[in-house]
Amino acid sequence: MKTSKWGWAGVVVVAAMGLAACSSGSASVAPGSAGTTAPSPAATPVTLNLVAYSVPKTANEAIEVLWAKTPEGAGVTWVESYGASGDQSRAVASGLKADYVHFSLEGDVTRLVKAGLVDESWNSGPTGGIVSSSVVVFAVRPGNPKGIHTWTDLVKDGVQIVTPNPGSSGSARWNVLAGWGSVIAGGGTEQDAIDYTTKLFQHVVALPGSGRDATTAFLAGTGDVLLSYENEAILAKQSGAAIDYVLPDTTLRIDNPGAVLKVSNPKAALWLKFLYTPQAQAEFAKAGFRPVVKGVTIGQVKGANDPSNPFPVPTKLLNINDDFGGWSHANTKFFDPDTGVITKIQVATGKSS
């Protein structure tokens, strides 16, 4: 009577699924009824859901305090979720409630555009949807014992590089592209860039999972140089890490996008607008990010090489749109797990060692 046992199981499973369907049905009623109270936002306390990658947490919290002092931001309470950028984006795409999102790279917002959650015009503003910015830098041991100043110094004999894994960490891709771009910007050909990047990977001793993991591994003694972001290096120095960092002459601008969801509290759009004010950008600056608008009064930035001139302009500053044809193009060309140029270089260097 084998069937009877499975018959039982089947009945139970089907019943359970029915139950699940019912409960999700009733849950979907709730937002609708909440929506009916929306016309009088001033009267009701507003809660905004912020979903972001983890690095700008401190800055966001400081800006929330500033915003709360303005008429628009008064009385707003926040529900916040911080985590790895890609994970956060996937969570929102699959239903995590969000009014405002802040990610480490554009593709994570593009995912939400494709899912119909963020309007296609999200990046049509003056900054192209970018709310915070940084540049790729080299974090080195105190005193820079290996004398690393340029991209070519990275591939000198005996230099060991740590950089987050460009395969599994989207934001790690800035670093590798910056190296690639330095060759092209110096007049090199595509083949020169391939040769250089191959050498770069031959010097890589560790590809930790994320930017923060890479910093952790570097601080634990792995490697001589860590390809990192200026804000990450400043943050590490602010929290007392024994590192120095070097801004190379040619580097890549890192753009972190922010967007409001199509279905969101109207206050969220006001918040996004506030983020572009000089006072909000000054808070990002304190946390090590470069401002995305002009006219920001930047005070002392603790942890920067020169706290009173924290963001010197590099000789040649590349950006993802003009130098790499935008993220969707760059992702396919460089990082596709089967055909990407960088993926192939990684495999080739893995084989040779």
Binding site: M1, W8, A9, P208, A220
Partner: protein, 282 residues
Amino acid sequence: MTVAQLRNARRFLGGRRALPRTTLRRGSGISLGVAVLWLSLLVLIPLAAVVATAANGGWAGVVTTLSNPQTLAAIRLTLAQAAGVTVVNVVMGTLIAWVLVRDEFPGKRVVEIVIDVPFALPTIVAGLVLLGLYGPRSPLGFDVSNTRSAVFLAFAFVTLPFVVRAVQPVLEELDPEIEQAARSLGASEAQNLVRVVLPSLVPAIAAGAALSFARAVSEYGSLVLISGNLALRTEVTSVRILTYIENGQVAQASVVATVLLLVAFVVIGTLDFLQRKVTRRG
């Protein structure tokens, strides 16, 4: 739950000879229903979803994914290290269980507790600790970071308790009179161990080994900091899966996951078979 209970439960669910087919009364029917429901919600449906997603890319998708050299190397490395760690666990785990059951020594209670710590420690913390102790600044002068040994070490750390905890209760319940009888019949200590004690431990060891292997194959957190994730060298499957997910290639990620599931299924099945065979003989 002791291994004996587990075995009984398994007999209840799948045993052909142990019990007649029609033992389902109303009470047991409900409990079976609840058990199957719980299993379905937590295990069967999610696993089916993984396999279904893998099938989305069709056969061609499976072939492309598995012929990617980086993926293939990651699968090979993960399975080889997991198998190696499992063998070590079988030996070391049994030894530790033996020591804990048969020997009295100061601090025994502490050791008892310490063994379970890898279960409780968030794996990323484990990774940090391993990197600190066996990384470039190792106070012990022992640097395995960014090598395959680091993968082995991380696997060994998180899977240590399985064999110990499976073997220990069985060893405790082993009737000492049987060993005394064997000795009185002239068996040497070695004979006693090999012919009397070990056979009764095999089911428990096999159960522990299966858990240990399955756990190792899926490990991520404890090794991301120390293994270096180098393509073709120290990159494990969970990192490959993340890579596919980061690139929006969920079908490929599921293909890799399905391969791991199949291998785990075969390994656990084989160990289970071994366990039954020995039990029946005993």
